[in-house]
């Protein structure tokens, strides 16, 4: 680094300042290493804490749908299913909306308005999860139960194939409601990162397309978007990672049923929700370990997705965006 080059050429320092630098270096190194220690401790505790379940249930844990505290038979499948379904639903709603809004903010809105609106949207990301849950219980759930779900049942529910997704009683709580709440929570991330990726596209590309007679929309869709594709995918993965780990809002609206249902109107369960609900009174040796093992599964899922997101985002928003 340049600053190190400067140090190398600087006049010979007094011994005291050299010691000062050494002390400083080791101090900050220790604190930086503490991050490694914390993470290592986290993985270690998750691994040890789940040992009883891992030895009792083996790999069958990942494929079993049973959740029986009486017989100590546990399976992760319903929770993985619920987590994946609600997150996928969330993305289905938030990605088109989010990328669309990002396009508006980067391509159409004047800079001042764009910044102001982005500021407001990023405030949405700051709202605590439990407040989303509070609002969802009293406003979204009744709305879903009385209006939206019956509507879906009587329209989409009658079609072949996708109809199966909209069958059953309209509880108001369930996969669909949880997915919608998650969508609202992930939109700010999608917008924020997509907008950055779009803004990073060189101006010349747009001007070239417009000069050739393309409309604004065609420029955006066919020229700008592909250039920013990687960053936008990154934002999607970021939103996914956030949705996977969301606890409070989901617990309050998913219905807490540890089974797998085809219908989106049915109640379900997510990994984070079951840990939140059952951890503090899971007794015995295997029950708490099973919950911790679920935590381990969630941990690995979010690591993988976050890593993928980082790679994609760094590729497009770092200085000098690469050609895709």
């Amino acid at each position: 680094m340049a600053s190190q080059a400067v140090i190398a050429q600087a006049p010979v320092k007094k011994k005291t300042t050299q010691i000062g630098d050494i002390v400083a270096r080791w101090t900050v190194l220790v604190f930086a290493a503490s991050l490694l220690a914390i993470t290592g401790l986290l993985v270690y505790e998750l691994w040890i804490g789940s040992a009883a379940a891992r030895s009792a249930l083996g790999f069958g844990f990942l494929t079993s749908s049973e959740w029986n505290p009486v017989t100590d038979k546990f399976g992760a499948l319903p929770f993985i299913y619920g987590t994946v379904v609600t997150s996928f639903l969330a993305l289905l709603i938030s990605v088109p909306l989010g990328v669309g809004a990002a396009m508006f903010l980067s391509e159409l809105a004047p800079a001042g308005i764009s910044n102001a609106l982005t500021f407001v949207i990023e405030l949405l990301a700051a709202i605590p999860s439990v407040i989303y849950g509070l609002l969802a219980i009293f406003t979204v759930v009744p709305l879903m139960r009385t209006t939206v779900e019956p509507f879906l049942k009587h329209t989409l529910g009658l079609l072949p194939y996708i109809g199966a997704l909209f069958r059953g009683p309209a509880y108001g709580v369930g996969y669909l409601t949880a997915g919608m709440v998650l969508a609202i929570m992930t939109i700010p991330f999608v917008i924020s990162v997509s907008r950055e990726s779009l803004l990073a596209v060189p101006r010349e590309q747009r001007e070239a397309a417009l000069a050739l007679g393309a409309t604004r929309w065609e420029t955006t869709w066919q020229v700008v978007m592909p250039w920013a594709k990687l960053g936008i995918f990154g934002s999607v993965f970021l939103g996914l990672a956030r949705a996977l780990g969301e606890t409070m809002a989901v617990t309050m609206v998913i219905g807490n049923d540890p089974s797998i249902h085809a219908s989106l109107l049915a109640p379900g369960y997510s990994i984070a929700a079951v840990i939140a609900n059952e951890f503090s009174e899971a007794g015995g040796a295997i029950y708490p370990a099973a919950l911790i093992e679920l935590g381990l599964v969630l941990f690995f899922l979010t690591i993988v997705i976050n890593a993928a997101a980082r790679i994609m985002i760094m590729a497009t928003t770092s200085k000098g965006s690469k050609r895709v």
Binding site: A2, S3, I7, K13, Q18, G20, V23, R25, V28, A32, S34, L35, L36, I38, T39, L41, L42, E45, L46, P96, L97, G100, A101, F104, L108, A109, L117, V120, I121, L123, L124, A125, I127, P128, V130, G133, L134, I137, F138, S192, V193, T215, R216, W217, E218, L238, L244, G245, T247, M248, A272, A276, F279, S280, G295, F299, T302, I303, N306, A307
Partner: protein, 282 residues
């Protein structure tokens, strides 16, 4: 105009309008949320809310004084623990970084940032609650500190890196040692952004409920370092999922207070201190 051109212009108009609609729909969600909270919460806010302890349902005159103080205590301690660690780790990454170790630390910071909050709760439970044989404000603070550290680390690193090289070289050329340059030139120069990061991080953890569920848990009375401690987010969760209408009103009021605290901190941080750069989240 040819038919094709007309069609293209129509598509253009429609799609651009849709993107505008998407934007304003998203923005309006924030106002709907705020509106609901202000309306419902405002109805239930009272002097009692801020000064009295919770009462069983059906009784009058209860409040959430212990939850407000509890939140301040838990978040305050978490900040005391997490900010120095995160700050110094960020200084390491920006100023003293070794190639391989530095990348590892950065990767781990991002990893820790993405860990679901409930899992951090499990960690604090096994590390603090079990040995201490009980729930405590300390356990809650440690859980929140673990969440705060990576946020502060990355923000510190980012804003330190943005300090112009010229400033650093000037200090070094005048004979300052490296650590003096960092302390007296680089950090003050980046202080706006660094402080923003700290405030945003603290605002973020003050709204967290999941990591407190089995660490600080809940308390009808005043909590403390070694006692279970009530906090606003956990009280909101408990009251909102109960069937009691008076508790629902309390939950709304608490929600209003919490979001007031969080949003005020966010707006202050970004407007007053930030340079107007949008911060990559997550």
């Amino acid at each position: 105009m040819s038919k094709r051109l007309v069609w293209r212009k129509i598509v253009n108009g429609v799609m651009l309008t849709l993107t505008g609609v998407a934007t304003f729909a998203t923005v309006s969600v924030l106002f709907v949320i705020l509106g609901c909270l202000i309306y419902q919460g405002g109805k239930s806010l009272s002097w009692n809310f801020f000064t009295k302890l919770p009462v069983p349902t059906g009784q009058e005159g209860g409040g959430m004084a212990n939850a407000i103080v509890g939140s301040l205590q838990i978040v305050g301690l978490a900040a005391l623990i997490g900010i120095p660690i995160g700050f110094l780790a960020g200084v390491y990454l920006a100023e003293f970084e070794d190639k391989k170790f530095g990348s590892l630390v950065r990767y781990v910071a991002d990893l820790l940032n993405g860990v679901p909050s409930i899992i951090v709760g499990i960690l604090a439970f096994t590390l603090v609650v079990v040995p201490m044989h009980g729930n405590s404000g300390l356990a809650g603070s440690i859980a929140l500190a673990v969440m705060l550290i990576p946020i502060v680390t990355r923000q510190t690193e980012q804003f330190l890196r943005e300090v112009p090289l010229a400033l650093r070289e000037a200090a070094l050329a005048l004979g300052a040692s490296k650590w003096k340059m960092i302390a007296t030139v680089a950090v003050p120069a980046g202080s706006k952004g660094i402080l923003t990061g700290m405030i945003l991080g603290v605002a973020r953890i003050s709204g967290e409920s999941a990591p407190l569920l089995f660490t600080a848990a809940i308390n009808q009375y005043w909590g403390g370092l070694t006692e279970p401690t009530a906090s606003l987010p956990v009280m909101i969760y408990k009251y909102a999922t109960s069937p009691f209408d008076d508790w629902h009103s309390q939950a709304w009021a608490a929600g209003l207070v919490l979001i007031g605290m969080v949003l005020t901190a966010n707006i202050l941080a970004r407007l007053v201190l930030a340079k107007g750069v949008s911060v990559p989240r997550g």
